[in-house]
Chain length 199, copies 2
DNA sequence: CTGTTAACTGGTCGGCCGGTCAATTGACTG
DNA sequence: CAGTCAATTGACCGGCCGACCAGTTAACAG
């Protein structure tokens, strides 16, 4: 557990992963070169190949790490939520919205991976949405939410509304009439929560 | 107005644009090579350079064409809508949803362009959202919609919910509990429209 | 029929791409 | 201390990248 000063493969891997994350998030996989990655992480091109094999290998490692963190974070939130809370849904929306607000790079990474047809994130999302839908179903049975809508669609609706907001965030930031993050969240919640009230 | 058999620069341009559109939509700008573009459109690489200058030039032309069609289509719909119709909003949602369903490639093109920081689509969307927001404002003043929410946020909410649905369409198509396009649209409209009813 | 223009082609260029490899260096083992 | 192994380096490779250019050919105006 000592700390070698000159050589530290784990730290090196971490530095490469961080630089690759930033570059891939910014420009997408295809537009980034191994030379940029090397320069960005302060190591040689060969060293990246030594640790990650190919450019694709590095890309996979970057995605796997980011997605694992995302998945862990979200699952934790979903499981620690109090099932008896009548305001569970709006709190979940807020929590998800805040997560995206604090992790804009993850949003972009998802977008890139998704456009390239990556399926690994799909399985994750399927499970998370499934967990959320189960909560909605419980709330419906408890009479807290209208029960004539598909619980999965309820979750998908707010996930879509939040995700796309941050995916296009920097564009519409200065549109006339468009509010900031908090104002949008507030209005969305107004609409969404009233739309889900029981008859 | 005759039809030359051997040489037709406009047809050539159109063929190149179509092939480029398909390839760029599928793989993104950076991952497509001039050679692929040439093969895909059945012409020589040099001819593409002759007509569009550089690869970037072709990319710009592809985007401009697709965006212009999108813009024209949307603006037409927005303007021909009957202002006195109390069900205007839900019809607009349905119309937009159907447009995306029928033009999945445009959705992907927007996603790519957007991730790359293209700002031209931003101005378009700003104007379209502005037009829609104006309609919402009118409906609010007529007492047809609740007036304690920002009209721009109303439009953004449904645009986000629809866009992101199709952006992730092929992924969640087979998720457990997830319905098809029509079922999602129906549930979203239930939530959205009730959420917007006046007090 | 002739001259001009532009569509179109094949060949080629310098440069950068991802990837490899032999050699060096540092850390740890016994 | 020698010996081992992995971390790290720099030089190098074949190939493909986007772009260019000289030459050819079809359309068209006069």
């Amino acid at each position: 557990m000592n700390e070698p000063t000159t050589r530290d493969p784990e730290l090196t891997r971490a530095r490469i992963l961080q630089a690759a994350f930033d570059l891939f998030v910014e420009k997408g996989f295809a537009a980034v070169t191994m030379r940029e990655l090397a320069e960005g992480s302060g190591v040689t091109k060969s060293l990246i190949h030594h640790h990650f094999g190919t450019k694709d290998g590095l890309w996979d490692a970057v995605k796997e790490l980011a997605f694992a963190r995302y998945y862990q974070d979200q699952k934790e939130d979903l499981e620690q939520a109090d099932g008896a809370d009548s305001d569970l849904l709006s709190k979940s929306v807020v929590r998800y919205f805040r997560f995206l607000a604090e992790n804009p790079k993850v949003v972009r990474l998802f977008s890139w991976a998704h456009l390239e047809g990556d399926s690994s994130c799909s399985h994750m999302d399927a499970e998370l949405v499934g967990l959320g839908a189960e909560r909605v179903r419980q709330a419906q049975q408890a009479g807290q939410l209208r029960d004539d809508v598909n619980p999965t669609h309820v979750v998908t609706t707010f996930v879509n509304a939040c995700t796309q907001w941050f995916a296009t965030c920097e564009h519409h930031a200065d549109w006339p009439g468009m509010g900031n993050n908090e104002q949008y969240l507030e209005d969305f919640l107004k609409i969404f929560m009233r739309g889900l009230q029981p008859d």
